[in-house]
């Protein structure tokens, strides 16, 4: 790990000033940043520890029925907040399908949005990566592409955003609140992350020094609480990143779908909202034929970025199955294996 200065500012203003210097990085839960620093993938000259900044650690219920989640709320605290899990069950399921219990106790809401890709070539400091070193090239092209994108990628970068949480959030129209030297502003999560294009190193709209202070979910997001799931295919049953995942939420009125929300994870450089697929479901019955059609629409623009064409069909099936699970109804209690397609039925031995 490189040497760095460690500062722990007491106020927003001090934090933003300290982090606006070149080479500075914010430290909150540290679960991703310290790992990247140990591997020499990022080398910040200064860590600005915001983990104790006041006012960022609360889950606040807004008068209109929405919720404002402070950027420092830990993943586990949010997922196990019973009111939050009741209103936004797919978000809770996505959170609990990610990482391990220890990491969820550390990792924060803001940090989750800013976590870096798990592309093996990004981690391989001996190889070329346009994200790490602009212009160096992309060894993932023609390399190990199992975790690479099939949507939204460019010739310069095929890495995926690894978050589960963001997938459920973007499906439900989450908004990111940001503070910077110019004051505070907000941006829909769908527009927060950037596609790689020719500048894959620029992963979000944040300018140097800007700090995520909260994530909001609108009241309308809770109207899907009876039919909302997160489904995630990974290489082992727990504690692994998604090869492909989907959040699906439905509002079913008199036997027909009145509203649908679909987003995909593990297949794109950002949490991927599938609006065309959502539209294909409006007014139709919640059945397999329509779910398959929506899944086709969700992956209509997909193309392999390497030896990963299988992910397109896999993601289609995940979307259709997540929709079927959502239609069947949110379970009264989250399954023992959140997000897992292998959740056992009672009495069946562990797989």
């Amino acid at each position: 790990m490189n040497r760095f200065d460690y500062v722990r500012p007491a106020t927003f203003a001090e934090a933003i000033a300290a982090a606006s210097e070149p080479g500075a990085a914010y430290l909150a839960g540290g679960t991703n940043l310290l790992d990247l620093m140990k591997g020499g993938i990022v080398r910040p000259g200064r860590l600005v520890d915001v983990s104790r900044l006041p006012g960022l650690g609360a889950i606040e219920w807004l008068a209109d029925g929405g919720v404002r989640i402070g950027a420092l709320v830990r993943n586990s605290d949010l997922a196990h907040d019973s009111e939050f899990a009741r209103r936004f069950p797919a978000v809770a399921e996505a959170l609990l399908s990610g990482a391990s219990a220890q990491l969820r106790n550390m990792a924060t809401v803001g940090g989750n949005l800013l976590q870096r890709t798990r592309c093996a070539h990004f981690y391989d400091v001996a190889g070329a990566c346009n994200k790490r070193a602009p212009g160096a090239g992309c060894e993932a092209r023609g390399g190990e592409a199992r975790n690479a994108a099939v949507l939204g990628w460019s010739e310069h970068c095929i890495a995926t955003h690894p978050s589960d949480f963001c997938v459920a959030l973007v499906a439900l129209d989450a908004v990111v609140e940001i503070a910077g030297q110019g004051g505070e502003y907000q941006v829909p999560l769908e527009d927060f992350h950037r596609l790689p294009g020719e500048t894959p190193g620029q992963e979000s709209v944040l300018e140097p020094g800007e700090l995520i202070i909260a994530v909001r979910l609108p009241a309308q997001a809770a109207s899907f609480s009876r039919h909302a799931r997160y489904l995630k295919i990974r290489d082992r049953t727990s504690f692994a990143f998604a090869v492909a995942s989907a959040a699906a939420a439905l509002r079913i009125e008199q036997g027909a779908i009145a509203a649908a929300r679909i987003a995909l994870g593990g297949v794109a450089p950002k949490p991927w909202r599938a609006r065309l697929a959502e539209r294909a479901l409006i007014g139709v019955g919640p059945d397999r034929t329509h779910f398959d059609r929506a899944a086709e629409a969700a992956l209509a623009d997909a193309r392999p970025s390497g030896d990963n064409a299988f992910k397109i069909e896999l993601a289609r099936r995940i979307v259709a199955r997540a929709l079927a699970l959502a239609a069947a109804g949110t379970p009264a209690r989250l399954p023992a294996l959140p997000g897992s397609p292998f959740s056992p039925v009672a009495g069946v031995l562990h797989v």
């Binding site: 586990s76 196990h80 391990s100 219990a101 106790n105």
Partner: protein
């Protein structure tokens, strides 16, 4: 750059001067305080051998900067036994062969203590396995670990009942 952190480690106040902010909580425990029960496995948050409780919550001490723990309450495997009597989770790991080589065991036990404190898994073996997925055991003692945690929950419930009576 010199930093000083004040910690409660296993109930004892410890002030440690850090000559370098790169020191993780894991390295502080092992190298500065001589508490080598907490193990360094992968050192990247993937194996769970370094699990300790900070302010009552299980975390990976390898991904935690010691400097950011200033003022925290840390509980390690060395602080679990009380007056020479093993903690019920430790007793249950022995009773159920919840280990073989023992390297991951301090992390497994601290993670199990954290899991029981969280109270989400109950007596469902599947939820216990899922809740313990951050602790890898190369010897594959998982069946014994799950049995030990189920038994430890019973032992702790009995102890709490006895104390309440």
């Amino acid at each position: 750059m010199s930093l000083s952190v004040l910690l409660s480690v296993n109930g004892v106040a410890r002030e440690v001067a850090l000559d370098d902010p790169r020191v993780t909580l894991l390295d502080l425990l092992r190298e500065r305080l001589g508490l080598t029960g907490t193990k360094k496995g992968c050192d990247r948050g993937q194996c769970g051998a370094c699990t300790v409780l900070v302010d009552g919550r299980r975390i990976n001490s390898c991904l935690t900067l010691a400097a950011s723990c200033d003022g925290a309450r840390v509980l390690t495997i060395e602080g679990l036994a009380e007056e020479g009597a093993l903690h019920p989770v430790q007793e249950a790991f022995i009773a159920h062969d919840g280990f073989q080589c023992g390297f991951c065991t301090p992390g497994q036990i601290m993670s199990a203590v954290g899991l029981i404190l969280e109270g989400h898994a109950g007596d469902d073996p599947e939820r216990i396995r899922e809740g313990m997925s951050g602790n890898i055991c190369r010897c594959g003692a998982y069946a014994g670990i799950t049995a030990a945690i189920l038994d430890a929950e019973r032992r702790l419930a009995e102890r709490n009942r006895a104390e309440a009576a």
